[in-house]
Symmetry: C3
Subunit: 136 residues, 3 copies
């Protein structure tokens, strides 16, 4: 059985944002056993799971991703929407557009240090839609 | 309930190829609610979701991935199958070998600009097998 | 229906480790049709699927990931746990914390050359926990 909840997220600026609590508060009751699947309906943002405690980790994420996927590369053709656009597409495919987390005893089986990140790769804040699917 | 369909894809050359329509045409009827899981059975190709409208985006994908994972790095040991082989394995793990998309009202819940890419990382065209699993 | 098995893995040192056989030996009987979902409960390790035959591939994986995500970058803020810590978080998000593989006829539908890698990104060996979920 699969049920979906559409979550309209706050418009975050560029960066990596911890959304675990926000997601959990908006989900229906979780089943005894299952899987939570989160899917972001955009090609210049992404979802990933990483460290949930120290905010400097998320700042370093932004720096590392800018180092791996640089702006203003001379080979870029698709540049109409600005220098942040094409790198945003690449970063989106590097982290991916979905994550999935096992559910047990009506709770997410996240590790102690694991949190859910919304990765906003565009400069301008965007409202992003996430589809939360519960499979049980 | 899970059902699988094995899809033998056309032999694409190196690059990022939009396969959304091809996949949809070959799938059985989608359930009212569920999840579509696509899995590519190869280690030098991958699957990702990204921009579906402007073909230059896919050209820029090729350029960026070649920048991130360079050929002929002096440290490479596994080079018997040519300079494109080991980078192909790395790229495959960067994008991943599976994607999953929520299904609602018998349709994929893709965002307006989202399409499915088959990423062929070898120079020579290869016929790739994708397992499409519908979970409902 | 979803059932989970918690797998405590051996403490591997830094690198990419083939764990397909170890995982299979510890799973309960697989259903006729379904999906295997593996989730690692850590933010400085990851899971991926790649080449299962030549051990030099896994050595080259280590070299390439160290090239893509370098240690001792001047911009790093989160460095209390050593120079391998923050790069480990980034690499974890590049490969991802989960993989999923279709199940058919009570077997994983892996391609001939596909194996499951546990990616240990910290220098010191760590015992990692993987949650194996069978969806059928």
């Amino acid at each position: 059985m699969t049920s979906h909840t559409e979550l309209s997220m706050p418009a975050y600026g560029r960066g990596f944002h911890l959304i675990t609590r926000d997601i959990l508060e908006r989900l229906p009751d979780l089943p005894a056993d299952g899987l939570l699947h989160l899917f972001i309906k955009h090609t210049s943002a992404g979802l990933t799971i990483n460290e949930n405690a120290d905010p400097t980790v998320r700042i370093d994420f932004e720096s590392f991703f800018n180092q791996i996927v640089k702006e203003n590369e001379p080979f870029v053709i698709h540049d109409m929407e600005g220098p942040d656009d094409m790198p945003a597409h690449i970063k989106s495919s590097l982290v991916g557009s979905s994550i999935s987390i096992p559910i047990h005893q009506h709770r997410l089986m996240l590790g102690t240090w694991q949190g859910i990140y919304l990765c906003e790769f565009r400069n301008a804040p965007h409202r992003r839609i996430i589809i939360a699917s519960i499979i049980s």
